[in-house]
């Protein structure tokens, strides 16, 4: 195993986590006012009405797919009586559909951003760099799903998943990751970059998802002075 692989699959995950957590804490303390979606719906809504839900809902399915694929060991699904080919069939079809939706959504959104004058003017360099990483992550993920799992019959649940689970118990299985085909490696590497960039880009709005809203009363009263 080369030093590059060690750096990528052993050092980088922890660096990413560190940057993500510390970055979020720091941004929350430093920049609560800048923590927003920075919506451009006011300027343009027709393309946004299609592109944004396509992208975000696609992404929610993609995230759900990652949770299932990375966290549930193959032995569990096998014990539940799901044969490996059935699992793979569903993972590839759902993955490709969700991935294509996400990609189509973000393509539309970037097209809109570039062609609508006011939206483009409101785009920062930071945003542009973030879009490059985000699209690269999605494309690499789609490649991995289609080439390696779909056409190439690679079972990522024997390579990527053990490595990923290992990270959380402080025993990253770099050997397993090394055995994965290159699209998976590319996707994992870009993914780490994306997570490290999270606190420093507009992506941070994902961590403001209002999950508490359904459980609170409609009207919020607050005192002028905290009592």
């Amino acid at each position: 195993m080369s030093w590059i692989e060690t750096a990528l699959w052993v050092v980088a995950p922890y660096l990413t986590l560190l940057v993500l957590v510390l970055g979020l804490v720091w941004r929350y303390r430093y920049d609560r006012f800048g923590w927003t979606t920075r919506s451009s719906q006011l300027y343009e809504h027709r393309l946004l009405r299609i592109g944004s839900p396509l992208f975000h809902f696609g992404l929610l399915f993609v995230i759900a797919g990652h949770v299932v694929g990375l966290l549930i060991p193959e032995s569990w699904t096998a014990a539940a009586g799901v044969p490996e080919w059935v699992y793979r069939f569903f993972s590839v079809t759902v993955g490709v559909v969700a991935g294509v939706c996400t990609l189509a959504g973000i393509t539309l959104l970037i097209y809109r951003r570039r062609t609508t004058g006011p939206v483009f003017l409101a785009t920062t360099r930071n945003d542009k760099a973030m879009y490059v990483v985000l699209v690269a992550a999605i494309v690499a993920g789609l490649l991995a799903t289609m080439l390696s799992s779909g056409l190439g019959h690679h079972d990522y649940r024997l390579t990527v998943s053990p490595w990923f689970r290992g990270i959380w118990v402080l025993r990253p299985d770099a050997e397993a990751m090394t055995a994965a085909p290159w699209p998976f490696k590319l996707h994992a590497a870009i993914g780490m970059l994306l997570f490290a960039a999270f606190p420093f880009t507009r992506l941070v709005h994902a961590f403001a998802a209002p999950i508490g809203y359904p459980f609170r009363p409609y009207i919020v009263y607050r005192s002028r002075t905290p009592r």
Binding site: R27, Y30, D31, R32, F33, G34, W35, T36, T37, R38, S39, S40, Q41, L42, Y43, E44, H45, L48, R49, S52, P53, F55, H56, F57, G117, P118, L121, A122, T124, N126, F200, T201, R202, V204, H205, A208, P210, G212, Y213, P214, R216, Y218, I219, V220, Y221, R222, S223, R224, T225
Partner: protein, 546 residues
Amino acid sequence: MRIMAQLAMVMNLDKCIGCHTCSVTCKQTWTNRPGVEYVWFNNVETRPGQGYPRRYEDQRRWRGGWVLDRKGRLRPRTGGRLRRMLTIFANPVMPSIHDYYEPWTYDYEKLTTAPLSDEPPVATPRSLLSGEPITVGWSANWDDSLGGSPETLVRDPIAEKLGEQVKLDFERAFMFYLPRICEHCLNPSCVASCPSGAMYKRSEDGIVLVDQDRCRGWRMCVTGCPYKKVYFNHKTGKAEKCTFCYPRVEVGLPTVCSETCVGRLRYLGLMLYDADRVAEAASVTADEDLYEAQLSVFLDPDDPAVARAALEAGIPEEWLAAARRSPVRDLIVRYRLALPLHPEFRTLPMVWYVPPLSPVVDALATTGHDGEDAGNLFGAIDALRIPVSYLAELFTAGDPGPVTLALRRLAAMRSHMRAVNLGDEPDPSIAAECGLTAADIDAMYRLLALARYDERYVIPTAYEGTTPGRIEETGCSLDYDGGPGMNGPFGETSGRPVPVSIESFHGLKQRQTSEEVTRDRVNLLNWDGRGAPKGLFPQRDTTEEP
């Protein structure tokens, strides 16, 4: 019973001359910044007219406010919480900038840089969003004073509701001005729509505010508010709204719009209400009953039981005294002159209006009748169906009863005072006919015509023994291009919020000294009147000086 105090406003529409001073001073104070160029926390619209944003009253289109569901329970018109969560990625019914208007400036630079020619140079309009030349075709008061009537008036949502006859009657136009700010509702649907919980109603004075540090820019409040008085700052990506000038009222000063009102038509004061009964009042079945229902949640500060409960609830003695002297309460409860704007939205608004008698008086005067004779006026109020039903659609969900009563009382006052001024004996039957006594009419006249500053604005201060320095710390989003809060590393507005006074200081300096205010153009909108904005005049050639 859960007693709460609410700072409320009443505007006497008869006195509004549509001068827009309130709008301009409000804009200078609160929305004189990039990102909110199109925003008017206070706007004055001509009625009949479409309003600002265009046709905001049409809730079939904009879906603001509350409705009763099949089981008779109150829910926002756009649906429940989960429904709102599912549409969070693209708000389906948010007005676009064109429903307000595309903000613009003028290419003033042309005026000084154009080469010598026979024609005078023209400063052409440029969009403040894209910088491109635009054709200005709509604004916050494009149809001001019935300008462009035949084309725009027919699209007035209320006129549409009233049908053909109103459209014909526009020929014999009746007209009045309607200044609008945030209603600071008792049952605010914007607050209910906010997924982040950033919007809140202050429990001390009922002012509805947006916590700029918690707002995440989901834009649901813009849809939720049926009055379209929550705006999206497109620079900061956050919601902003009328603050009822809380830094001023906290120290006992009236809001800027009230302070600068030329006609002195605004009244500020406290209302006490029972917060536990708000939901019940907002969910009465018939729209026409909402006015009475809202009246029923108000509490009488002169009632000893109410006073005791108020003190127990932590409302200071001083506030209770202010509630007893409240001019707003007199106009709303005692004389029933003031009415809520669009109670059918079920938000229980707290900026009320004394309906204008002037369309009626004008109609009488143009037909050669005596516009101050009580008999004529009473007859005209009943006969002039269009103004009354128009006002009823605006203030009582279509019920002409309360509008007629208020107008009759105003008419009675008019006629009574003429007799007084001419030295005649006022006819007590005129007052009696609309349920008042001569003494009531005198008091009413005093409040409507003579009331001085401290009678129009009865505002208890928010500070009991604490120093007013706290205003600073509540901070807000007054940012501007290149200021301390703007152009941080992660987007245009990242960084710590800066106290208002420091921001204003830097903002002023920046505006007065910066070379480029709006992409190579001099933006007079941001000029505070002090000094010459740099770039407006060519550089003075100092070499020629003797």
